[in-house]
């Protein structure tokens, strides 16, 4: 009898505790919006795959947090800042979304994070490259996870300049991301005694790169750097090889996602070096997760997919630890707790929202080195986080 009473008491305490916990979750649920490019240039690097990754994180977490269900909604930003910001606005004001994940094109992310910060909601940025979100457009509600342009420039450009490739020409995607990448990479080149001899700006989603390749050819550079991403990289490299540019000078892909590397001709791309925040075939931990992802998505994960999973997990853990889904408390917890999983190695989330972790300097395998079509990168070296990312700016120290 006494035993019974105790159990009852425990049960009622537990029940009370769980309702009390639920009361801390606004509108009885945690809702994550996934904003990504579902059918455009970046669809392979963070589109439907990012939705899958975030759904996987929610399922692995158990589907509920603090007794409240976790919901995932998704939408296509069509790579347009106006479409993206309108969706985010609607999610916050009309559909009780607590955080927005995914986020690919830096232009869309710039517009979306402004709306999110105004509403004090959290932006979980997985695939955007611009470093603006933790520097000149930093916000206490931004979390920038996978990589950024600084890490790419430090990882890929620096070793090449040091190896004697002094003259650089850029083929740049003509928007926030490309400009940021070109700017940061030029700085690294100049600081290490190199020189930028020119740049051609191509609009996002260009299919015919021939005129830009011709400009590069006549520039007299040692290296042509592709400061673009997604299908733009694939198409510009293809054009470079067709015009014989790859024989004349080095081509450096500053941002090559695995699905795009897979799409490139290994005879042309083989031997090219780039920097990535994640590769599926690093060790057992990454292979285990990637295998599960591949079963659902049908292709190997890009770094943004893995980052989206990792940061969603961290966000949910922080809600649990904070005991509420209120943004300020959750952000505080996210920055206190050390992210540690198959993706985040030697990682910390800094006060400015930059997640600093190990990056990988990789080489695209030549045809004879590949066991199968998923065997794309070999790791040349691991770049420790503090060498890859820039130090925090004092004005972005949101403690």
């Amino acid at each position: 009898m006494k035993m019974m009473k105790k159990t009852l008491l425990a049960a009622s305490v537990a029940a009370f505790a769980s309702t009390a916990a639920m009361a801390n979750v606004t509108d009885g649920k945690v809702k994550i919006g996934v904003l990504a490019d579902m059918g455009g240039t970046y669809a392979d690097v963070c589109g439907p795959g990012c939705v899958t990754a975030i759904e996987m994180a929610v399922e692995d977490f158990g589907g509920t947090v603090l007794g409240a269900p976790i919901e995932v909604v998704s939408a296509d930003d069509q790579l347009k800042p106006d479409v993206g910001s309108a969706i985010v606005r609607k999610w916050i004001e009309d559909e009780q979304v607590d955080a927005v994940g995914g986020l690919v094109s830096s232009a869309v992310t710039g517009a979306a994070t402004k709306v999110l910060t105004d509403a004090k909601k959290i932006a979980l940025i997985s695939t955007s490259a611009s470093n603006a979100f933790t520097t000149k457009a930093c916000s206490p509600y931004n979390v920038h996870w996978t990589y950024n342009v600084v890490a790419l420039a430090n990882g890929t450009v620096k070793p090449m300049v040091e190896a004697g490739k002094k003259k650089w020409f850029f083929i740049t995607a003509d928007y926030a991301f490309g400009h940021a990448l070109e700017g940061v990479a030029s700085k690294v080149i100049n600081e290490n005694g190199g020189e930028v001899v020119g740049a051609a700006r191509a609009p996002l989603g260009t299919t015919d790169f021939s005129s830009y390749i011709l400009q590069a050819q006549s520039s007299g550079a040692d290296v042509v750097a592709l400061a673009n991403a997604g299908n733009d990289t694939v198409n510009s490299l293809k054009a470079a090889s067709e015009f014989g540019l790859t024989q004349m000078m080095d081509v450096a892909g500053l941002l090559v996602f695995t699905p795009n590397a897979q799409a490139m001709d290994p005879n042309v791309a083989g031997g090219m070096r780039t920097t990535t925040g994640f590769y599926w075939d690093l060790d057992d931990q990454t292979r285990e997760w990637s295998k599960r992802f591949m079963e659902r998505h049908g292709a190997i994960p890009a770094m943004g997919h893995a980052g989206a999973y990792s940061m969603t997990m961290h966000y949910l853990k922080a809600i649990e630890a904070a005991g509420t889904d209120e943004s300020d408390a959750v952000m505080k917890k996210m920055k206190e707790m050390k992210p540690d999983d198959f993706f985040a190695r030697n990682a910390t989330l800094r006060a400015d929202g930059r997640m600093v972790h190990d990056m990988y300097y990789v080489e695209i395998k030549k045809p004879e080195e590949r066991r199968d079509s998923n065997d794309i990168f070999k790791v040349v070296s691991v770049i420790p986080g503090d060498q890859a990312f820039a130090p925090m700016l004092p004005e972005c120290d949101f403690k």
Binding site: A75, D82, K90, G110, K114
Partner: protein, 308 residues
């Protein structure tokens, strides 16, 4: 009398709508409705298909956005200046294009608007592909806080009603009668002593200023001006809205904008998101083949047959 009661009912509907539907969506709808009304003034009443109206929508938007961010003007002044800028641009474009007719007119306007597109793409103040982000909504007359969505909606409604009234007034004035005369038989209008090109030019300027007004307002609603608004897709979209709703009817563009914007809004998030353009294309084909006078045009015919 009947018509007045009908308009009154619509106005009441517009006044209570934000309490049932998401106000920003409604404001967007009104902005596009105004844009389509402006376009319809040219296509429906002068019979000229302008394929460059996005340039005016975008110009209004960028000018207002820039003023809101850099000058500290109140929103109503920024909108006014945005409208004036679009009107001036329209006056220049109109002068160059009204000398031609039909497909040549459409092509001249398209070419001019593409010029504008590439200027905005490269000009540093527009932010290029990133767009002009984080435009403040400000305080109307320095007093009313527009960051509240309901306030914003009623402000947009007031602007829309003004624009709609202006189009209505233009069409039903002697000037409007002459425009319709030009549409029906240009040679006869000339022979009656009207300087046809001047009438077209004035109509084009009014139309572009109203398109600019729509763009200026839209920028405030979304706090963003982007290349989407100046892209030729936008010029095409407004043709679609007007045709679906009913060319040459005063309410047609409003209905058409309502249909298209609602579809974009509700389909883009759902399962059919990737097929949005196919569905819109299909509707366009059906409209052109089956009911050529658009939704409002067909309804008017039914009304006349049974009650008229």
């Amino acid at each position: 009398m009947k018509i007045n009661k009908f308009y009154l009912a619509l106005l009441l509907l517009a006044l209570v709508a934000p309490f049932f539907l998401y106000p920003v969506f409604l404001a967007k709808l009104l902005c596009f409705a105004l844009f389509a009304c402006a376009f319809n003034l040219m296509l429906g009443y002068v019979g000229l298909l302008s394929f460059g109206h996005a340039a005016f929508l975008g110009t209004g938007g960028y000018v207002t956005g820039w003023l809101m961010m850099n000058s500290g003007l109140t929103p109503e002044l920024a909108i006014l200046l945005g409208t004036v800028a679009a009107g001036l641009l329209g006056a220049i474009f109109g002068k160059l294009s009204v000398k031609r007719e039909g497909i040549y007119f459409a092509m001249v306007t398209l070419a001019l608007s593409q010029l504008v597109f590439f200027i905005y793409l490269q000009a540093p103040f527009t932010g290029g592909e990133d767009g002009m982000q984080g435009v403040p909504r400000g305080n109307l007359f320095g007093v009313i806080d527009l960051s509240d969505n309901i306030n914003m909606y009623y402000f947009v409604l007031a602007i829309f009603l003004f624009g709609f009234w202006l189009v209505h007034r233009t069409i039903h004035s002697p000037f409007g009668q002459i425009l319709k005369g030009i549409r029906e038989n240009e040679a006869r209008a000339t022979s009656l002593g009207y300087n046809v090109n001047d009438y077209k030019w004035v109509a084009f300027t009014i139309s572009s200023a109203l398109a600019g007004l729509a763009g200026s307002t839209k920028t405030l609603v979304f706090q963003l001006a982007s290349l989407t608004d100046v892209h030729w897709h936008m010029s095409g979209e407004v043709v679609l809205m007007t045709l679906v709703g009913g060319v040459g009817t005063i309410l047609g563009p409003v209905v058409g904008a309502g249909v298209i914007v609602t579809m974009q809004n509700y389909l883009s998030g759902g399962e059919l998101g990737n097929y949005l353009h196919i569905i819109m294309g299909f509707i366009f084909v059906v409209c052109v083949l089956a009911f050529r006078s658009g939704i409002v045009g067909e309804l008017q015919k039914v009304w006349k047959r049974n009650f008229g």
